[in-house]
């Protein structure tokens, strides 16, 4: 417990993510304009919006996989705009992927070992990991090749890989996409655990509105390249313009 407190303190000192007036264009195609958001350690922020609203692009920019066209990103006060992907990961901004994404021919254990090693993690990550593996039914499958796991477990492994790097800011790209009802509650469980264990903030891009309502005290709606609304889900999701933007899409699964 002291360790968790310690982690939380450290994160409070340097873990705040601030995204200022980010815009992105691909050639002539505008993805979005003027996006602002702040994530303090421990925050959980939901990002929703119809397909093509730029949600994944936003994650790609924050994690350093893409450079923004304009705007700046700060982590703990330090500017990190367009730093390389691996550097941002080392600094604690780590993302998960929409599709299942593991080292396919490696075992579950090897996958996690790589995540711990590549992130320069210490051995005590394993104690927390072992507990999570047990919770997600992966403990007894540790020696199985990761691409032989059922879809849902591959997705959970993807989340655990991000967790294994002990992130300060966790970016989750549709963590529940393709999961069944019972598996979805594991995402809740995972997010709560990550926040409690690591003191990290979490940004979740998701189409599952129930999950968003359960997990996120605050959400942002992206639509047609701008931030349409921001606030508590109950309030934002009852707004007329948000419902209009989402008509026919609000309970749609899978991008």
């Amino acid at each position: 417990m002291t360790q968790a407190t310690h982690a939380a303190n450290r994160a409070a000192a340097d873990g705040e993510l601030r995204v200022e007036k980010i815009s992105k264009r691909f050639g002539g195609l505008k993805v979005f304009d003027d996006i602002n958001l702040t994530l303090a350690p421990g925050d959980i922020l939901g990002v929703i919006g119809p397909n093509g609203a730029g949600k994944t692009t936003l994650i790609n920019i924050i994690c350093g996989k893409l450079a923004p066209t304009h705007g700046r990103i700060f982590l703990g006060g330090e500017e990190v705009t367009a730093k390389p992907f691996h550097s941002l990961s080392r600094m604690g901004v780590v993302r998960s992927f929409q599709q299942t994404n593991t080292f396919r021919t490696a075992t579950v254990r090897e996958n996690l070992a790589r995540a711990v090693r590549f992130s320069g993690g210490s051995a005590d990550v394993w104690r927390r990991l072992d507990e999570l593996l047990a919770r997600f039914g992966l403990a007894e499958r540790q020696d199985e090749q990761s691409d032989k796991l059922p879809y849902g477990q591959q997705k959970m492994l993807g989340l655990l890989l991000a967790y294994s790097t002990s992130p300060k800011v966790l970016l989750l790209d549709e963590p529940a996409a393709g999961l069944e009802g019972r598996e979805r509650t594991r995402v809740d469980d995972f997010v709560q655990h990550a926040r409690a264990d690591l003191g990290c903030s979490v940004l979740i891009v998701e189409h599952d509105m129930d999950l968003i309502r359960r997990l996120c005290p605050r959400i942002i709606v992206l639509d047609a390249g701008r931030s349409l609304a921001e606030g508590p889900p109950a309030e934002v999701l009852s707004r007329r313009d948000v419902i209009d933007a989402y008509v026919g899409a609000i309970d749609e699964e899978d991008a």
């Binding site: 996989k65 691996h86 990961s89 780590v94 080292f103 021919t105 490696a106 711990v116 590549f118 294994s164």
Partner: protein, 348 residues
Amino acid sequence: MERTAPRVGKPGPGEIASVVVLALAFAVPFISESPLVYSITNQILIAITAAFSVYIMLRMDLLTFAVPSFMAIGGYTVALAALKGGVTDTLLLAALAFSVPALVALPLGALVLRLRGVYFVLVTFVLTEIVQLLLFETPGLTGGSNGLVGMPATTLFGLSLADNRAVLFVAAGLALAAALITAGVTSYFRQHFAAIEENEVLAQSLGLVVWRYKVLGFVVAAGLAGLAGFSLVNMLLTAHPTSFSPISSVNYIGYTIIGGRSSMLGPIVGSTLLVWATNIFAIRGEYSQGLFGVLIIVVVLLARGGLLGAVRSLLLWVQTVRARASGTAPTSSPTVAPKSSPTTRVAP
């Protein structure tokens, strides 16, 4: 009970077997005195040394055509050191043959390996042509189209290594050194290289500085090619541009892929069989590349794991059939089955 991460630096059976096999090459001069056997063994050892260069890069799913370029740099370095510098000590020459190409590869790799894999392949291809051009167009240094001839025999601790047998010892020693370096690097960085090969984007997202490992691999691969260049120049006592023709890069790729890219034994098996076949069937040089090209296509289409992979699959199949006949399931899952599908790419 705390389980620890898989260890980084432990050589596997493939690496150990490869080193042992190459150590056995030292026995050839004691078994045979036939000049033909010596000549073929020499060629095989040089081919293996060069094929390791391809093998290291393939560990990270990178194809390199640059092997003849770095062989040339290593070979010419040795020839110049011997002819102009009077250096004949084998160990010193080997150190030069490794380090000069490695030093050339360092800035080149740092520049190119941040780009996507395709561009790297292109650059290595262009490099072979550039090196050829330089060899022909700088006669003052490289002797131009005459090459550098009349190299003195190398020495070891003052002992002359002039006769056929001694030349074979040098080739075996260089191949063994190359095997030890390859085994060391690929087993120490096994998890890193495998992660890059399978899923570069995921590896980066977890904090791995991918390009640095690629550069490291490239530098070592260049050094190994340099050793092969030394071996070749030492056998011919001549450094000539035609020994390092751009098209010969296909041979080294062929040895590795046809033998099997998933284990260090692959390049050994591939080099041995193909060099031997080329000699026995007296295939003329210019046809052998065509033959290797066809064989590479066959391997890629039918047996991704190469000869080694095909043998493994066959053994597994026999095992399964036997197990089924005796009514018991095989004890272990087929973890050595040849790997097939390409890396998952992540859509932006």
